[in-house]
Amino acid sequence: MDKTNNLIALFHESTDTAEAIDELHTLGIDDEKMVVITGVPYPHGALGRQVEWLTLPYIVAVGALAGFLFGLFLAVITPHLYRLDIGGHPPVGFPPAAIIIFVFTMMATIVSTFLGVLWEMNFPRFGPAPYHKLVTAGHLAVLLEYPATLDSQVRQVLESHKAHHIGEPERMAL
C-alpha cells in the first residue's frame, strides 16, 4: 500500500477554497479523500463538491411506518384485548383511532429523523478528530489524504490559494 499523507489547510475565502479543491481534483485526489470543515453551511456545490447520497429519508420512512403500526396497535388492537364498552361507542371508532395513529406516526417520524441523522453523522463521537478551532471563527478548513508522492504539489496548490496553517492535522479531542 502506498504511503499517504494527511494535511490540513485553512482558508479565509470560500472562492479560494473552491478553486483549490478544483485543482486538487485535477491532481487526482478523490472527493472522498477530502473533508471540508466550515463554520457556516455553504450551499451545495458552492465548493465544487458532489452531493452526497443520504439514507435519512429511508430511515424516516421506516420509522414513520413503525409509528403508524404502533399507533394502529394501540388504537385498534388494544381495545379488544380487554373489551369495555363506553358511551355507546364501538370499541374502535375511526376518529379517535385516526388521531392516535396520526400522532404516533408523527412522533415516530420525528424521533427517527433525529436518531437517523445522528446515525448518519456517526454521532455522538467524542474521540479525537482532525479539527481546527479557527473554523468557528470563519475559516474554511480542508482535510486531505493523499499519496505521499503528491505532497509538494498539494502544498503548492494550497499555498497558491492563500491557504494558511498548512500542516499535519491536529487531532483534537472533541
Binding site: 380487554y82 369495555l84 364498552d85 363506553i86 358511551g87 355507546g88 361507542h89 364501538p90 370499541p91 374502535v92 371508532g93 375511526f94
Partner: protein
C-alpha cells in the same frame, strides 16, 4: 360503525323509575344512600362550596310567585345513560358500560381527572375532595360491601350494585333468577311514598318497564340523546 352491544334488547337493563307525583322531598333516600354506600361527610364549609358528596339529591324547583307559588321536587342521581357522555372521556376506563346497562365506576381505577364530571350534563358525579374522615367509632357503620373511597377519585350512584349482586348470588344459590322488585337499591327500599321503583327495563312484564311506557314518563334532558336509565313520571295535575 360497529353495532353497539348496549343497544340490544337482550339481557338486563337496570332502570329506576322516579314518580314525581309521589316524591315529597323527605330526603330519606339521601340518608339511606349515605348509609348504604359509605359516603363521606364533608361538613358545613365544604358543603357550602359545592363539595358535598350526595349520590342522590333532590332538586327543588319553584314555580310561580306568592301566593300562587309551587315547589316541586325532582330526585336526581346518576342517570345510568346508555349513551353516557362520561364514559368515553375517561383515559383509564375507570368508567364504562357493563352488560346490565349500568354505567359503572371503578373507584380503584380512577386517577381523578374529573373529565367525566365535566362531561356529565346532569352533574350527577361527585368527587372526593379530601380524605374521608370517620371519627371513631363511626367507622363501624361502614358497609363492608362497598369500598371507602379515598381522596382524589370520582364516585356516583351505582344503583347499589352490591345489593344487586347480593340478590343475584342468593338467587343463583337457590337456582332461580331474581324476581321483579326483589332487587332494591337503598333509596328504593326506604322511599316512604314508593316514589322510586327499580327493575329490569328489558323485561316487558316488570313494573318499571310498564311504568316507562306510561303516558307520564319522560327522561331528563332528552335532547342530549343520552338515553338515561332513570325514567321520570310527571307529577299529576288535579285542580280543585
Amino acid at each position: 360503525m360497529a353495532k353497539d352491544a348496549n343497544q340490544s334488547d337482550e339481557g338486563i337493563r337496570w332502570a329506576l323509575v322516579v314518580d314525581l307525583d309521589r316524591c315529597t322531598g323527605c330526603q330519606a333516600c339521601v340518608v339511606a344512600c349515605h348509609a348504604e354506600n359509605n359516603l363521606q361527610i364533608v361538613g358545613e364549609k365544604e358543603a357550602a362550596y359545592g363539595r358535598w358528596t350526595h349520590w342522590i339529591i333532590i332538586h327543588r324547583y319553584w314555580e310561580g310567585e306568592y301566593p300562587n307559588v309551587k315547589a316541586r321536587f325532582m330526585p336526581i342521581m346518576c342517570q345510568q345513560c346508555s349513551e353516557a357522555p362520561c364514559e368515553p372521556v375517561c383515559p383509564v376506563f375507570a368508567t364504562y358500560h357493563n352488560e346490565e346497562g349500568l354505567n359503572a365506576q371503578i373507584y380503584n381505577r380512577c386517577i381523578g381527572t374529573r373529565f367525566c364530571g365535566s362531561a356529565c350534563p346532569y352533574k350527577a358525579r361527585v368527587y372526593n375532595w379530601f380524605r374521608p374522615e370517620f371519627p371513631e367509632p363511626l367507622t363501624e357503620q361502614l358497609n363492608p360491601d362497598v369500598s371507602v373511597r379515598t381522596r382524589g377519585i370520582m364516585e356516583k350512584c351505582t344503583f347499589c350494585i352490591q345489593r344487586i349482586r347480593r340478590v343475584e348470588i342468593d338467587a343463583q344459590a337457590e337456582g332461580r333468577s331474581p324476581t321483579d322488585g326483589e332487587i332494591q337499591p337503598a333509596c328504593v327500599q326506604t322511599c316512604p311514598t314508593s316514589a322510586l321503583i327499580f327493575g329490569d327495563l328489558n323485561d316487558p312484564n316488570s313494573h318499571v318497564s310498564q311504568l316507562a311506557h306510561s303516558r307520564r314518563s319522560f327522561r331528563l334532558l332528552p335532547e342530549l340523546g343520552t338515553d338515561p336509565g332513570v325514567i321520570y313520571l310527571k307529577g299529576g295535575e288535579v285542580n280543585v
